[in-house]
Symmetry: C2
Subunit: 202 residues, 2 copies
């Protein structure tokens, strides 16, 4: 290796992620990315080609972290707890920061950046994995969990609702409301009587 990268790529990508997450793809300029990362614009172009390619690198970091957290959140014996913990994780992630940062994939999906096929595929990939994560957990539901929908259908419904929750957060900035909406879906999704009969004392 002769010409070696001068900046810490992992750190730079993290800082770029913070910026993209806060402002969205379109509204983030290369100049801002350069300032935030401490890497000059020219170097960024040299290293990644263009803003879209840099974004895909950053999005990969985001995707990995996001899914890792949610995977862990679902790892609870009772489905009710797993779903509550899942939504808690989602809500906490989007309400972090001041002003709250929201959700990067949702901001991206709603912006014109989504017409770029490679970006669309990246976002879709994340949502597909998210759906798979949920589907896997839901498929392991016990009769006592009282799941009232096929796992696949339920997974898609949950993924879709999380996207909606993100938008509601942007407009109302009321974390309590988000959690209440999540609870409402969980209540509909799981039969309470079945849940009670599968209590922790049995």
């Amino acid at each position: 290796m002769v010409g070696v990268r001068q900046f810490d790529e992992a750190e730079a990508l993290r800082k770029a992620l913070t910026l993209f997450w806060t402002k969205g793809f379109d509204e983030t300029s290369m100049q801002e990315l350069a300032s935030a990362t401490g890497v000059q614009r020219g170097s960024l172009y040299n290293a990644y080609g263009d803003k879209g390619a840099l974004f895909l690198k950053v999005f990969e970091v985001y995707r990995r972290d996001f899914l890792r957290q949610l995977r862990a959140s679902l790892d609870r014996p009772k489905l009710h707890d797993a779903l509550q913990s899942f939504f808690d994780c989602v809500v906490t992630s989007m309400t972090t920061g001041n002003p709250t940062r929201g959700c990067l994939s949702t901001k991206t999906a709603a912006s014109t950046a989504i017409v770029d096929e490679s970006i669309r595929e990246a976002v879709q990939g994340l949502l597909d994995e998210l759906e798979g994560l949920l589907g896997g957990r839901l498929a392991r539901a016990q009769p006592s969990d009282g799941l009232r929908l096929a796992p696949g259908e339920a997974a898609r419904l949950i993924v879709t609702l999380t996207r909606g929750i993100v938008i509601i957060e942007r407009v109302y900035q009321d974390e309590q409301r988000l959690r209440a909406t999540a609870d409402a879906l969980i209540a509909l999704l799981l039969d309470d009587r079945a849940l009670a009969s599968g209590g922790d004392r049995a």
Copy 2:
């Protein structure tokens, strides 16, 4: 009246709406608005002040139309039919156009335009009215409709899901999937047995 507006304001606002709807607030320039409406940039500034104020005017047109359609869609005797017709209306609206135009309020909510307080209030106003519309219809539910949630809670859940559906549309561009997700929520929300016992032959 001495100096009178030369252009047809209603028509100009409609054309501006099409543009904002397609591209979103941030990505739409005053030059594009001028070209689309046939009104010169300077005139737009003179008439509305700045892009934000013009957007609010346009958003008002959007809001009126959107809510009028949805109000009509909910006017059906059986709640199940009303909700299906409601979601059909929402999905049809966002999948219109080529490429599909999506949802203006959601695009706006997800963009940085939402930090502008007057724009945030406009979007919130629309969602509040939407929630009120649904809440009103749900409050008139019959026992035979089998509504499994308090009307207010159900209304918020539905509003939130519609926002999520918009995002899913952007990513997957699969109208069928949107309708299936809507049907899944309706199925959860309404008790089928109650529905059957309240059939149209009684």
